[in-house]
Structure formats: structure tokens, C-alpha cells
Amino acid sequence: MPLIILLVQVIFLYTLGGDVGRWGLLGIFLGLGITYSILSFKSPRGLTLPKEPLSWLVGQVNKMAERGGVRNISLKILDDYIPTAFSYGKTVVLSLGLFEILDGDEILAVAAHEIGHIKNRDTLLFPLLMYGRYASILMTLIAFLLVRSLLWDSFFALMTVGYELWRSSYMREREFKADETALWLVENPRSLKRALEELKYYEDLRKEVYSSTFPSLSPSIERPERTKTGFFMNSHPSYEERILRIIREIEALEIARRMVN
């Protein structure tokens, strides 16, 4: 679907934009291609390899990766007090903040989610989708400048909105898929649910503490209503959605195990 949208935009800009449009197209794809190539070789800053005391974590992460059929995975630690995790290439990154709020099993569950992304090739797909987004936006901007027609400008804008809506929806589904993969990789599936609950609590509490003058002992964890626009454009599902799905998956797993036994 995203390729079709991009292809349609390329064809129309090539046809309607004249020579300037064609040069613009070349510039967009060449520029994005060079940027992607450069950034692919660059590791994010501030990462360290786990020291000896974290050998238990390295061992367990390798074990989960083997279970998932992923080879040569590496683990890095980010010196950041905010609990976060991400992956790039075949590397899983966990921040030190995670170690403050989660126990061992829960940290492994978060690592398993990231291994899920690597296994599902999201570390390759996500950057490509992001660059596709930039390409779509840039093509629309060039169209606005060159094709002075409300009909065609609206068409290009709709294509970009369509790409963005599809991309957000697809990336949310990939998060759910990474959760499903993680449930198969961890020894204790409920640890993923617990990890997400704690991360949700942290996120809500942090907003509460930093927005209020007098942080209270028992802060409210009510979230403001997500706006409809925010929901459609958000590439990450909410913690509530993920936790709900995980509960259903765990129940299904348990039923399946009981039937086998």
C-alpha cells in the first residue's frame, strides 16, 4: 500500500511537474538515500556494552534470541534515567532507568519485545517507512510549488495523509506483533504485562509530577482523553491496548497448554 501511494505521487509529479519536478524527484530520492546510508552506519550516542555484572542479562537475552531464531544479537545499555528501550539493526538497547523500576523478569520481557522487532524485521522496515513519509511530504510540497491547481494539490495532500494514516496503523500493528513474539520468547509471559503496567504508571506519574507544583503521595493515574486526531496519527498503541491484548494472548496460551496436557 505505501509503495503504491509513493509510486502514484512519483508518476504524477514526473508527469505534471515538468523538468523542475523531475529534478526535484531525483533530489528527494538521492538525498534520502544518502542520508539513510550514512545514518545506517552510525550508532546512537551514549551507549555502553554491559559490564560483567550484567552477564546474567546478556546470557538470557542470547537465549531468547536463539529461541526466536535470531543470530548475532547484541545488547547495549543507555545511560538515561528515563526507562526506555529500543532496537536498531540487530542491537537491543535498554536504558538504566529501566533497571530502577522493573525487576529481572520484567527487564527480560522488555528485551524480548525488542528481540521481537528484530525477528520481525521491523528494524529494517521502520526506517524505510519513515523515509517514505519524508519522500511523500517533500513530493507534496514540490507539487504545491509547481502544480498550481487546487485539484492536484488536494490530490497530493490526500496521498500524504493516506500514507501517514496507513503508516501509523501499520506500525501500531507491528508493536502488537512484537508483543506476541515476546510472549513466546519469555519464560514468564505475565512479566511483559507487569512491565507495561509499570511503564504506564511511570509515564502517567511523570506527567503528573512535572505538571503540578505540589506532587502528591498518591498521584492520580487518570489520563486525559486521547484526541481522535492523536489516535489516528499515533504510531504507538497505548499501554492499555497492549496490556489488554497481552492478557488475551496469555489466556489463549494457557488454554492451548491445558488442551495439549
Partner: protein, 126 residues
Amino acid sequence: MGGDMDKKLDFKPNRTGLKAVLPELEAEIMEYMWETRTATAGEVYEHLRKIHPTLRRSTVSILMNRLCEKGLLSRSVDYGRGGMKYVYTITTSRKEFEEKIVSTILNSLLNNFREATYAYLSKIKK
């Protein structure tokens, strides 16, 4: 201690002790940190849980980082036996903190209510 203590100080005269200048949990964290001088968020959490059984690790982590931003604690990475983790250390003694609070409040009173402050200080001196 952070140079912008003046901006972050909220004085509540109806509260007692440290809770007059720090939110309740932050005050309890600092009481513990002044005793131990150095601790991890986990150690602080285990201590506070005895008083607040429903307390969560995230609460302690966020508040200790807030205390770092206020300049009362500093954070460093420790490569100990338990793994890599953050260790928090006090940046100022309790005495220095209290002196800073008193000077901040008195300076503010003198700036805003000069005559009344002098009159009151003279009265209590007698």
C-alpha cells in the same frame, strides 16, 4: 546545591520540619539520604515501603530524579555486583540545606516586608 533553589522553593508554614519546604515523599527521601549519604533507588524504595506499603518503584525513581534536578542529590553509574545501576549521593549536608532555606526565606521577607521583618526580629531578640 542547585543555584536556582530560590525559584524551586515552596514554603508551607502550616507543615513541620522538612515537609514545610519539600513535598512529603521528597522530604522522607532526603531524611533517609542524609542518614545513608549514598543509596540506590531500590534501597530507598525498600526503606519507604515500610511506611507506605502501596508505594511503587516508579514513584521513588521519579522523585529521586526530581531531587537531582533540584540539586539536592547527584546521580552516577555504579558497576557493582548487582549489575549496572544508578547510585544517588547527597550534594549538601542537612545543616547546609537548612541554612540555605532560612537565608532564602529571610531574604525574601526582608525584600518584601522589610520594616515588619526587622520589627519582628528585634522583638524576638528581646
